[in-house]
């Protein structure tokens, strides 16, 4: 297992009983939270939306925690090793504007319409068909992503500690099943909040030791010896930079379509805000999440770069065991003594768990409300849907185990995720923007626009990947372009079809379309809680960081 990498550096783990003790504490706490929450799961809303009762700091940290699944944790170290500080674009331009936008402009509609899910919102704004279509594509997306998370998790523990791949997958599945069955979305959200703190606690010492070890920031620059790795924008006038994309591509592809598509329409993150206690708290949720997001690159980039200086052969052949994805796990094993290593492994475990659990809780809500209740069993008592939610949790996890083995057959799991994303989320963004800001958008315009956009994206992928008719360049660039084209096609199709079909009467669109919704009179007593203050603070930090690392 280790041969390739272990030639280059000491990556045999210094692991002892204390490490297993720390992992055991994490498992015990997680199950304890589930048991404590069990008594509160009285209605379906408790199970699926935490009774809409959580404070904004919890939903805000869960919002960012749900986003920090296995792939993101592994991916951020991997990208840092591959692209240097350019990777911070995913956290700054690729997240902050979209998060502020969803908070200020979209959250009032999501929360205000009292919908239980993103497909639910589509039904209110468009029609049953649009909702059904999105529910199905989103359902497929979540079980596939959840499986990939499970596979990545199992792989890391297989490589680091030599645990069997099958045992890892089934153990993780069983554990997640128990705690979601007990505590529903609350379990998942509490875990994401706990996981957020664990990730910071597990990664920050890695940054500190790593930087001390190479002689600080300037020492790191000297060791890496690649100035292009230390500038955000300076090399982006052309495409001659580690990304291979110029600044227009970064701003439009990453900063607009990919990030707005993800943060504004992905039910996985939106669900966290829907669980907030009131509309003001729902609006604050993405805004609070921007602050950790702004500082996350510092936790990821340093370890990713430092490990490059220790293991220069990383990412050059050898499959997953020696891929950039292992940058952070290897850095932990290399720098952490027994004790702290247990904490680092717990942080990784927690992120894998919450990545999977987040997908499973989003999946069970969409299935139960948007598919089962709409098309299979309409007027059952609430208890029945609560029961269904639990049944589908078990089913969803079993399907995820299946997709975990499916993911095992793909070369690059990160590319796989980007493909899924450009197919499901990118066209959906156009449907949402038109629906929320243009009252003339018609139900059938929305449905066919989304259908055409999605089919177009799938067609582009098949033509490029399997028929080799054309090529958009690197896998990153390819997904960015595919996402942008799918968005544009959906936008134009929705627009044109809307001109020829009948819109819904304006009275039905109140609270769903921007121009027809009266401004909410949420009066915040505390100035620091006002959305505009939080958004402004985030923008100032965002601009300053971009200037410092220009």
């Amino acid at each position: 297992m280790f041969t390739l990498a272990s030639l280059q550096a000491n990556i045999s783990p210094d692991i002892g009983w204390v490490d297993y003790l720390i992992i055991a504490i994490y498992f015990a706490v997680t199950l304890g939270i589930g048991l404590a929450l069990r008594k509160r799961m009285l209605s379906s809303e408790d199970f699926f939306l935490s009774g809409r009762s959580l404070p904004s700091w919890v939903t805000g940290l869960a919002f960012v925690g749900a986003n920090l699944g296995a792939l993101e944790i592994l991916g951020m170290g991997a990208n840092a090793a591959q692209y240097g500080i350019l990777q911070a674009h995913f956290y700054w331009i690729g997240a902050i504007p979209a998060m502020i936008f969803v908070a200020i402009f979209m959250m009032p509609f999501y929360y205000g319409s009292k919908t239980h899910s993103v497909p639910g919102f589509l039904k209110l704004r468009y029609n049953e068909a649009t909702r059904g279509f999105n529910a199905i594509t989103f359902g497929i997306l979540t079980v596939l992503t959840s499986g990939i998370n499970m596979y990545a998790a199992a792989l890391v523990f297989n490589v680091l500690l030599g645990w069997s791949l099958n045992a890892c997958i089934w153990l993780a599945a069983l554990f997640i099943m128990v705690y979601i069955l007990l505590g529903g979305l609350s379990s998942s959200i509490y875990n994401e909040t706990l996981q957020f703190f664990l990730i910071v606690a597990g990664l920050l010492p890695l940054t500190i030791i790593g930087l001390i070890n190479v002689g600080g920031w300037s020492g790191l620059q000297a060791k890496v010896n690649n100035p292009a790795f230390f500038h955000l924008w300076a090399g982006t006038a052309g495409s001659n930079n580690p990304f291979g994309v110029n600044f227009i591509g970064i701003i439009l592809g990453l900063g607009f379509v990919l990030s707005f598509g993800y943060w504004c329409t992905d039910f996985l993150v939106v669900q966290r805000a829907l669980a907030a206690e009131d509309q003001a708290a729902a609006q604050r949720t993405p805004l609070i999440a921007t602050f950790p997001k702004l500082f996350f690159p510092f936790l990821a980039i340093a370890p990713g770069l430092v490990i490059l200086s220790v293991m220069p052969g990383l990412g050059h052949g050898g499959g997953f065991n020696n891929s950039y994805n292992m940058a952070i796990p290897f850095a932990m094993v290399h720098y952490f003594p027994s004790g702290l290593l247990g904490l680092g492994l717990t942080a990784l475990l927690a992120s894998f768990m919450s990545g999977m659990a987040g997908n499973v809780t989003a999946f069970n809500t969409v299935w139960t409300y948007d598919i089962y209740r709409s098309y299979i069993k309409r007027d059952a008592p609430d208890r029945h849907y609560l029961w269904m939610g639990r049944v589908i949790t078990v089913a969803g996890i079993l399907i995820s185990v299946g997709t975990a083995y499916l993911a095992a057959s793909f070369n690059s799991i990160m590319d796989y995720v980007q493909v899924l994303f450009s197919i499901v989320n990118a066209p959906l963004l156009a449907t949402f923007l038109l629906g929320m800001f243009w009252r003339r958008t018609t139900p059938w315009g929305g449905f066919f626009g989304l259908l055409i956009g999605t089919i177009c994206s799938i067609a582009l992928w098949v033509m490029e990947q399997f028929l080799h008719i054309f090529s958009f360049g690197t896998s990153e660039g390819s997904s960015m372009w595919r996402a942008f084209i799918a968005f544009a096609v959906c936008f134009v199709a929705t627009f044109v079809i809307s001109l020829f079909t009948k819109p819904r009467p304006e009275t039905e669109l109140k609270g769903l379309v921007y121009s027809l919704t009266p401004k909410a009179e949420v009066v915040e007593t505390a100035w620091y809680k006002r959305p505009i203050v939080l958004a402004a603070a985030a923008i100032v930090i965002f601009v300053v960081l971009n200037i410092i690392f220009f």
């Binding site: 000491n10 210094d14 002892g16 204390v18 003790l21 720390i22 504490i25 994490y26 706490v29 304890g32 939270i33 404590a36 509160r40 009285l42 209605s43 379906s44 809303e45 408790d46 009774g51 809409r52 009762s53 959580l54 404070p55 919890v58 009292k114 919908t115 239980h116 639910g120 039904k123 209110l124 609350s186 509490y190 909040t193 706990l194 703190f197 664990l198 606690a201 010492p205 030791i209 001390i212 070890n213 206690e277 290399h334 720098y335 952490f336 003594p337 027994s338 004790g339 702290l340 904490l343 717990t346 609430d382």
Partner: protein, 92 residues
């Protein structure tokens, strides 16, 4: 579509919330304590971490952070509990 029929759980949210800070604070504090004690009495290979007893210092930091967080959670959940009726009346 509306879910008004299942919103009867709203008030329990208050107590719910503070137990989160308490639970998370306690967990972080406990892990910190384990690291701290291991840093004091255990034998780890500190050549990995540049000769720094990182277990001791990071454990101490986590322990203090966890205790403070748990204390804040505990205090505000108590304040919440005593102010509950008044707060609810104000909200409505």
């Amino acid at each position: 579509m509306s879910q008004n029929d299942v919103q009867g759980m709203q008030p329990s949210g208050q107590k719910h919330r503070m137990s989160i800070a308490l639970t998370i604070g306690a967990t972080i504090g406990l892990i910190g304590l384990v690291l701290l004690l291991y840093g004091l009495f255990g034998h780890a290979d500190y050549s990995r971490s540049d000769g720094i007893n990182i277990n001791l210092w990071w454990g101490l930091l986590m322990f203090v952070f966890g205790i403070v967080m748990a204390a804040i959670g505990y205090i505000s959940s108590h304040r919440q509990a005593t102010n509950e009726p008044a707060a609810l009346a104000k909200e409505q």
